[in-house]
């Protein structure tokens, strides 16, 4: 139920707006756009293909945002550790972890 691959629309068929030619790194197939008739894609759009039908348009923006979130993973935590090391926290809330000294920061 799950094998679906992103493909780029190369061209919409001139005699049938529900048919498009898509490309997946050089492999081409006609797919049916009938399930996207409420929000028709155009040539150049990326769609998710499952059993020869386009299921959804791929949002390049959401993909980019996701990549950004993934790149940030762990980074924010590293930043927090560093800030803790500056000793700016309330002393009573901050457990002694042996790192709250300026000499430890490099």
């Amino acid at each position: 139920m799950c094998l679906a691959i992103p493909g780029k629309i190369i061209e919409i068929s001139s005699d049938n707006p529900d048919t498009a030619l898509i490309d997946v790194v050089g492999v081409r197939r006609k797919v049916d756009l009938g399930l996207l008739q409420d929000d028709r894609p155009v040539a150049g759009d990326w769609v998710l293909i499952h059993v020869g039908f386009a299921m959804s348009k791929i949002s390049e923006q959401d993909a980019a945002e996701q990549m950004e979130t993934l790149r940030m993973l762990g980074e924010s935590e590293a930043a927090v550790q560093e800030v803790r090391g500056y000793g700016l926290d309330e002393p009573s809330n901050r457990p002694w972890d042996g790192r709250n000294r300026v000499e430890d920061l490099e």
Binding site: M1, C2, L3, I5, V24, V25, G26, V27, R28, R29, K30, I49, H50, V51, G52
Partner: protein, 330 residues
């Protein structure tokens, strides 16, 4: 039906039925070509049948497969292919131009491969009994000096090499059948690999332990057979395996693994580590060997199995094929 696909079922047919009857008590592992000694000379001999459908496809035809396939079996056994004999089984009613085209294709392929076709036979069978035509070729070759192909000589630390991108042939055929409505600029990789084998042997002769041409069943099947025969483990690095974009795209779309797809113009080799760099460099500098890569190595574990690992540390076992690779949607 699964027994012809080259994977586990094929192996059981050969080992369970043919070998005990035909090869008697011999405990030797089955190889692509047999080496027999005559009065001090060592000849390699092999045979193979070709039943591909469609008989013509981008990059080649059944006739070319029949020449190159047998020449390659000789080459990877460590022999220079010298001569072939060929049998055609032809369906009644087949247009003579089609047969002629294949004969010509074989002549051209033989010339390119440097082998002589020295004889043959033809039989005609009822319409519907041969899918247009089947071709069988038997070939002999001259054993290369200083090359001993023996899985027992494989040791942990040995490197696994591939001569070029995998999956071209099988995907080309799948697309050429027309049932999946996919198109790609892909051609079969059918060719004689002997020139590359010769380069490898020259660069790494004493260090070449094993070679095989991964046809039906793909590289996964050949490597599983090796692991079984030498009792060691094989670990591949996924990112090192050369695969053309279009093969990758077709495999992703259809849910197939390039490691299970047939090749007709590539070979795998196991080379002692001290020779591996020289081997790859020599291959990369040879026409047709530019994409040769070290794709893994032999280790103690996983005993008798093939593991593939990714750069981030994930891994999985690669099994032999059970029957033909089937497209999936799930």
């Amino acid at each position: 039906m699964a027994h012809g696909a080259g994977g586990q079922a094929s192996r059981r047919l050969i080992e369970g039925l043919f070998a005990p009857i035909l090869f008697g008590a011999s405990a030797e592992p089955l190889t692509d070509a047999a080496h027999v000694k005559f009065d001090g000379a060592q000849l390699a001999i092999t045979t193979d049948s070709f039943v591909v459908k469609p008989i013509r496809f981008p990059g080649g035809s059944i006739g070319e497969l029949a020449v190159n396939g047998t020449a390659n079996d000789l080459a990877v056994s460590g022999a220079r292919p010298e001569a072939l004999v060929v049998t055609y089984i032809v369906e009644a009613g087949l247009r003579s131009e089609i047969l002629e085209a294949e004969v010509r294709a074989m002549g051209t392929a033989a010339q390119k491969a440097g082998v002589r076709i020295v004889g043959g036979d033809t039989k005609v069978v009822e319409h519907g009994k041969a899918d247009s035509m089947y071709i069988t070729t038997a070939g002999i070759g001259r054993a290369l000096k200083g090359v001993v192909i023996d899985p027992a000589s494989v040791k942990p630390g040995d490197k696994i090499l591939v001569s070029g991108p995998i999956g071209d042939h099988g995907i080309t055929i799948l697309l050429a059948r027309g049932e999946l409505d996919l198109e790609a600029d892909l051609t079969s990789d059918t060719r004689s690999v002997f020139p590359l084998v010769e380069v490898l042997v020259r660069a790494a002769g004493p260090g070449v332990r094993w070679m095989r041409d991964p046809t039906r069943g793909g590289a996964a099947t050949s490597l599983n057979e090796l692991a079984r025969d030498c009792g060691l483990g094989i670990v591949l690095q996924e990112e090192e395996i050369p695969v053309r974009d279009a093969v990758r795209g077709a495999c992703e779309l259809l849910g197939l693994d390039p490691l299970h797809i047939a090749n007709e113009g590539q070979f795998l080799a196991v080379v002692a580590p001290e020779y591996a760099d020289a081997a790859i460099n020599a291959l990369n500098l040879t026409l047709g060997g530019e994409d040769a890569r070290v794709i893994g190595e032999v280790r103690e574990q996983p005993t008798g199995a093939v593991l593939i690992s990714t750069r981030y540390g994930g891994s999985r076992i690669i099994d032999m094929l059970v029957g033909d690779p089937l497209p999936r949607i799930c």
